[in-house]
């Protein structure tokens, strides 16, 4: 089980890779609580469920010197995946796992406040089903207290009833984890997010899609070898957007994870992340 709280903030528009003077949304922020539950079904096969809730998705506008605020909230689309440990070589500390799943919307119609439909950017749900595919490659150097992880996640969301389709997304993350002490470890994540342009009524939405490179340092504290507590910062270091877009400035997460050993044999053989 992995549960995390995340806060994100944005207040600057970017035109391609350069900062822009464009001003429409003065700033935007969100507070999100997510959980990932992974259960070992049989040897080498896990089922994973992702759930999350936005306490708020807020946009503050500055339109012709007049301030407005729009705020949404609610369940994010869930996901359920099957993951299979394709290769594991314990002496070589090498492991490869692949997973395939589906995104499940908890909402089919846009959220409204006082009978006024909120814009797409503050909707908590994509309001559409989708496909999620993941790969995980692990290489350990336990003698040096070093662990390397390479994660790839692909998402393809279908068109929703409002004729809006979020673009495909590919997230590639490289984690380097180094044990500092028995309890403390430092993790550095470098992550690239590529997004295809969205579509509305079959037409590409201008100023959507692009590439963002993040660096996310993380401190982890392990308790009793069962609980892990983490704090991490998500910092974009490079971006290349299509058109002019509001870009993320930073995000912070607090994370708690725990392994529940219902069956000693099952978890020992499973070997799936």
């Amino acid at each position: 089980m992995n549960t995390y709280f995340r806060y994100g903030y944005a207040d600057t528009y970017f035109d391609g890779s350069r900062k822009s003077d464009f001003l429409f949304v003065e700033n935007a922020s969100y507070n999100f609580l997510g959980t990932i539950l992974t259960y070992g079904m049989v040897d080498k096969l896990n089922v994973e469920v992702e759930l999350g809730y936005y306490f708020n998705l807020t946009q503050n506008y500055d339109i012709n010197a007049t301030k407005y605020t729009l705020e949404g909230s609610g369940l994010r689309d869930g996901a359920i995946s099957l993951k299979y440990n394709i290769y594991k070589n314990a002496p070589k500390e090498l492991e490869f796992t692949a997973g395939l799943g589906t995104k499940i919307p908890f909402r089919k119609n846009p959220q409204t406040v006082n009978n006024v439909e909120l814009p797409i950017d503050v909707q908590s749900s994509d309001m559409a089903y989708g496909i999620v595919a993941q790969t995980f490659l692990y290489k350990g150097f336990i003698a040096n207290g070093l662990h390397l992880f390479l994660l790839n996640r692909y998402e393809n969301t279908f068109k929703n009833p409002q004729e809006y389709r979020y673009g495909q997304a590919l997230y590639t993350s490289l984690f380097v984890s180094k044990a500092l002490t028995t309890h403390w470890s430092l993790i550095i994540q470098v992550r690239d997010e590529w997004r295809e342009a969205d579509q509305r009524f079959g037409q590409s939405v201008p100023s959507s899609g692009g590439n963002t490179l993040f660096v996310a340092p993380q401190i982890n504290y392990s308790v009793l070898q069962k609980w892990n507590l983490s704090v991490l910062a998500d910092i974009p270091v490079f971006r290349c957007y299509e058109g002019t877009q509001l870009g993320p400035k930073y995000a912070f997460s607090l994370q708690v994870s725990k392994e529940f050993d219902f069956s000693n044999n099952k978890n020992a053989e499973n070997g799936v992340f």
């Binding site: 506008y61 339109i63 729009l70 009978n115 439909e117 201008p206 959507s208």
Partner: protein, 120 residues
């Protein structure tokens, strides 16, 4: 003197009684007709650099009405019979449709739309 006083009081009471009886007779009321007369925008073209927003008003007849607003793209501020509409031309320019559905207390609804052109 005393008899005159009693007589005048009785006559006065009868007059008052007849007047109040007359005022309690009420005409049958005509139910207010629900009509959605028009949906009007202050401007049908908005330009980000000069007039980036417009006020849209629903003109209706009736009581206990609820106003439901949506758009093909853009942002709607406010609620009720009058709202403010804007849109980011960088992503959501061109012709956009703003819809208003007015629903009466007996759940009958009427819908009207306006089209707004959005550009820089």
């Amino acid at each position: 003197m005393k008899n005159a006083l009693i007589l005048s009081t009785a006559v006065l009471s009868v007059i008052i009684m007849l007047a109040s009886c007359g005022s309690q007779v009420t005409e049958p009321s005509t139910p207010e007709v629900f009509k959605f007369d028009s949906l009007v925008s202050e401007s049908y073209e908005i330009y980000f650099l000069t007039n980036p927003s417009t006020t849209i008003t629903a003109y209706t007849t009736g009581s206990d009405l609820s106003y439901h607003w949506s758009t093909t793209a853009g942002d709607i501020f406010g609620s009720g019979k009058q709202v403010t509409y804007t849109s980011n031309p960088a992503c959501c320019g061109g012709y956009q449709t703003i819809s208003c559905i007015v629903i009466s207390k007996d759940n009958s609804g009427l819908k009207k739309e306006v089209e707004i052109y959005v550009d820089f």
